[in-house]
Symmetry: D3
Subunit: 318 residues, 6 copies
């Protein structure tokens, strides 16, 4: 069960209201690498985890991330405090309030729709979605996903720190950023305390394909490095000459029953394209005589227009 103490994990001191900065901060409140995403990522994993050590760690960190959601959300609330009151009480002239609302970023929606409260959107106003969460119920996957997520959250905090000179905000963001580093370390330790964590799962890879590097992008700029060269790698440069890799015909096939075959024959007959036709089309009909348009040649020459006439004739004879 969760409990709450009204003190924040880290004190928030904001120098002055700034709704535009507030809307940027939302990236770590309701954005894809924000604190709700972090908390829910670890919480859902923790609920399903059976290993007692990992379960405890996941619940510890999930709970702390909720506390971080509170810190970053409090920063947003403070930054919006001016516009919230002004809009609620309509204390300014309309034209002044209009200017305040339109100062930049996504702050207009945060004011009009959310009334200055911290909304679970990113800095563009996109509502948070659980599509951001990639828990898969396998610790060798989930811990890697957590490691990556912490590194992303770290970089986004770093960018936010770089754009504000409010010392209180900078300090709180620095705290939050550092905690991501610490959490990444915990997840790394947890991953490698599973003795056999690569590749994830039980099934081994198929030997011929596990060390193959397929050089599908060629031309100027082709490069080598430890990711495609060396003892670990067999490299395939003649991609097209080795299609398919399994030595088959490279086709997709399925065995259809008799009834299905009949349906297919009927469908293909009904919907066949005639490769030898030269049909008039809607584009032909629509290409008017106006200037600034594609020329006659682009639109098709005499051949298919004759066809068009023939078809028109046939239809009008019906």
């Amino acid at each position: 069960m969760f409990m709450h103490n009204k003190r924040l994990q880290y004190t928030v001191r904001v120098s002055e209201p700034n709704p535009v900065l507030g809307s940027l901060m939302l990236e770590q409140f309701g954005g894809p690498d924000g604190e709700l995403a972090a908390a829910m990522r670890y919480f859902t994993q923790g609920l399903a985890e059976d290993d007692p050590g990992r379960k405890d760690m996941l619940l510890d960190i999930a709970t702390e991330e909720l506390s971080h959601l509170e810190v970053i959300g409090s920063i947003v609330a403070m930054l919006n405090k001016g516009v919230k009151g002004a809009l609620s009480e309509a204390s300014m002239e309309e034209a002044d309030l209009y200017m305040t609302i339109n100062a930049g970023g996504d702050s207009h929606t945060q004011s009009i729709l959310y009334g200055g409260g911290p909304a679970l959107t990113n800095s563009s106003g996109v509502p948070w979605t659980a599509a951001y969460i990639d828990s898969r119920g396998d610790p060798a996957c989930d811990l890697r996903s957590n490691i990556a997520a912490e590194s992303r959250a770290k970089i986004v905090y770093e960018r936010l720190i770089n754009i504000t000179d409010d010392p209180g905000i900078k300090e709180a963001l620095g705290f939050l950023m550092t905690r991501e580093v610490s959490h990444q370390k915990s997840f790394e330790k947890a991953l490698y305390s599973i003795q056999d964590n690569f590749p994830a799962g039980k099934l081994p890879g198929l030997t011929p394909y596990a060390s193959l590097y397929v050089n599908t992008s060629q031309g100027e700029g082709d490069a080598t490095g430890p990711w495609n060269e060396g003892e670990q790698w067999e490299r395939l440069d003649d991609v097209e000459g080795n299609l398919p890799l399994d030595g088959g015909d490279g086709q997709a096939s399925v065995q259809l029953g008799e009834r299905d075959m009949q349906d297919y024959a009927a469908m293909m007959g009904r919907l066949a394209s005639d490769p030898n036709s030269s049909p008039a089309t809607g584009a032909d009909l629509g290409a008017g005589p106006g200037a600034g348009k594609l020329s006659d040649e682009d639109m098709g020459g005499a051949a298919d227009m004759a066809e068009a006439k023939a078809m028109s004739r046939k239809q009008s004879a019906l």
Copy 2:
């Protein structure tokens, strides 16, 4: 700051695994009226709230809803425990596992993608979205929204209770359902402890329109009741005869500058429809001679086909 105790707020005893039931329970985990929605609704309001009493209440209830998220998520985890192990260890024949995976509902995705962990989706697999949260930063609105949300959560729990006979699940769901009733009562009290809460906001309504009931749906089934009849209401039955309500011309207009006027003239000339044309169309071209099709009459008669021929001729002469 949040803290966590590993004991649940309510003990969860599940009789046996059942992933289909598990996928239905997700409605209250990651669905629109589920516990994450509830927690985030109150938490975001609490962060922005300045009234000390409401702030405390919102944080109390938000925190409890997180604890309910844990309870319902634990029910899902228990119900999925069989399929999780079977899929992870591949201990069954493929055909048996295929049957297990396809037992119903959305449980197939919960198994394949989420590995049996509780996912933040509803019972159809739709990922949770902050679009479910309607906090607006005004307590007279937000408390009404909370009251409504609690009543919805109550009814969904009631429906889930009605479809399972597992006594441990029924008991835990009953607890969760009851807490929604209790929370609704708190929000009601908080709403009415604001002396002047209707209508929300500061602006009064415009007198002529505030008590008007517009009978826009007519015909058999027209009914009266306290919502459209009585001292509070002035009723408008002749809707079309009173258009517009303001006595103007009922048109939309804007004053354009000279340059804008020129642009509009150019655009309208370029894109004008010719009401007197009788053009051949793509549909005319595409209506083949096949059986089971619309008849000749449906497709247009001789008049516009002559036109089509003429147009074709013109184009082929280009």
Copy 3:
């Protein structure tokens, strides 16, 4: 069946084009509390409703909301009329058009993508989603949801009124705002004309939990009020000392069959974390000698590096 008269329910007179203001107005066209949401909320309820009075009311109000969608959409169309023509006819220098497009808010997308027509997005460009609609098929829920929705729509209109000094727009918005007040009154009357509407549904709450207030957020700022104190409430302050509320062990459990037990044993053995390990990790490998990085102590000391060497040795011996 629906019918339409080209006159608006309320005349729209816009002083001059302003695409930024137009993009703010979208909040009530394609936003979560906008007129499409309102219309669809009541229309879907009306289709399923069996009570003749409520059905009629829901269809009356749904139809009127569609008419309001037309009014607010017409305001948007008028405000965008300048940029629409200019962009269509490319009558300005590129640099001037670029400035016009980037005047603020979300108006750039409204111009580039939607060509100045009213788009079903909110003021941040988020497409309207039926996730905004919370009809649940129970009138005691749905009417409360409608009451809340009307109060939200009222406040958003009020905020829009506060930021524009165009008298024609102000007047039309005032009309629309007032109608929300009127609709809220109708839904209130309809709710309370159901004799027994609280709590929603048939199932009673469980007595011990229906009047309990759980004080989960403590510390400075703990407050009381009619929502948690008084004759209606039993209050629980020692939350952690009363876990779980049911007197059980506060654990989640499920009875697994023999096969499931075997799977779990295998899975847990395979994926166990070793709490006594001191593994080298990817973070250890990645912490380079660069300045501006975490110090050696942060990255782990000698103990687990010895382990890393040992593991490396073991692997290179394979």
Copy 4:
């Protein structure tokens, strides 16, 4: 199988970085008519297509659209190259970087969240969704959808061309725009090389309704044209007098079994609205004595207040 050459299909020469212009260009990268949408539209159709000619064409064009995705994405990457470096290296004062980040459009999110890389969003930051793709597995539908999609992509490119004076960007956009025209022509030809393509599918329309034009929007502005008048059309002006079109009762009905009937009777009894009640409501309770509020008359007069008192009395007597 796909292969890649690092040369672009068209050379991209950008004069100088401009992240705001970069965020507008995203409309054709990750927007609804952008190149990913185009590529995936044709690719998914191609995979399911059985007609060899159409299959080849769909794969040709899908592959080219991927190459266009690369061209437009490269434009975005070049336009963001300044802000990417500045933000990564934090080489400016915070206040200057803040100004750079907030220059307009959605570029703030592109910088903070996506680090200046081309993101699969539209110009408002809305993430790309497969909801944009309308492949239906029937060529007479899908080719029409493709024709329409190409015309939309053409117009969005035209708008982007109109707002920039960077000659290298203009040239590359002109190339991309022209290819959409060419692709539209191919799809038109493919559509009309199916002999019988209108209407799509096998089922004929029902004769009485296929040529009927229903004049549902009346009043000033009623107009005629070839879309509702002429030999092809039968026109219905008295809409309400001809309800329903089938001559039945215009009601929706279902035959319920006995048990269902009983449930309905119970439900309707339980939830019936009392049309003759005059209930006090939450709005009545909430309408305080404050100034700037709806007047007494709006809120209901004495009648239902007496009722409220009576109800209160009844309840307090329980």
Copy 5:
């Protein structure tokens, strides 16, 4: 303004409740080609349209589509009437109700969450989104989009007709399907009554690229037809040999200022990959000695393990 008559445009007679069939019917209620999408598509176009003929047509058809939304929604409501009552009144044993809820499709969510009312989702429960609507504010695009949309709606109705043998439903679906055919015809006429409608917009295509067919998908199955061969087409088969098409270097470039250059140098130095390194990786650390895993060779040989040891040594010396 909209008005409503409670009679449906077409009578709905359903033989018996069937919630699974009801959930399939949702495809045309809240699905991408459903009636809400149709109505909103034409309505938003109509609001912005200036041509009086097209405006009238768009509003006529938009209004009729709303009436169709009512017809298909009424079918859904009738099909769900059994489960709605049963769930509301809990008149069955839990196990029976559980079976009823899980009869197939997405009907479980329709019952539990939406209470049997028609929900604005598709047949998988995906909430309707305005991302389905592709109005672009240019009639030569929008009419083509409408034509395509009508053909898609027609085919989905045809599929629904093919899977039910309830005569009343079949009849109503046949009516709705036929109206789509009729609407497609209107939009075709309106498109071709614009004299010069191809390509959309004002800008001409660039001559060298407007008639070029790029054969990007080669190998077995390469085909020709009127879409890539004939007088209209210039065909490019040697794609790679003609890169880029403009004769430039096929690179993307931007001119950076001095400061930007410095940032880039710093960033690239800091983040350079060392192509000659042979680093130990997290995968190396994680590849345990377990059976059923990739072999030693797959995981990298001695060389980079020596490096790993060296790095470990270096780090432990810090």
Copy 6:
């Protein structure tokens, strides 16, 4: 630029149609860890990458993932081939087709809406969204995200392999699964060939918080391991006693100007909750005399009903 060869990278041989299995396979076509997500993840990173080695690798792997999208999409197309023809030609009795459509999973929507073509949805029908892609423009983050994504894709393929006994499908899935392992190895090598990759970015963490483990989840089940114990960690168990960590007051504050202060005073006065009130509420009004409801005690006793009466009296006196 991309080119395409119609041969697949791996031959697809499907034994017989099975649309339910097809809908499960969609998880790797249009699901969050599917091949489109993989391709777009690496492609967007490659476009913005400046390091030549990484850029080449990202484009190589992106291109191969598109080829995998083709392989898995071809499997889906083959599995759906029966239902596609049957539905298109309506060759079965309606009741039989209804059974075929409703065989399980999400295959009903795949048939009705997508016509049997592979749709870019996951196995629940959720449309693919770019919210799945977490490219952040920093290689130390992005490579970690890629490593995690490959491990997730591996496990989902493993699960799909475990549920089918079709040998051709198993073989192709095994190939695809193995390639994910190979790609993970490449990304690992690329990450560690950046000398200094932890933590991501330039900013160091703050020393006091980088090695702190906060034990926020306590009670039975508290555990230790290398993730929270040992030389690397300082551990905080008395969480509440150390609030906030910075030694401040743990409050959020902002300095408001005079005008803002006035607005706040007005707003708080207007919206204050009265903690000493005992208001009657909507719940009180709605709690009818029905059986099966909460008891009188739950709903509030005499005290606040007296208040309600008083308030009613006051209002009726207005």
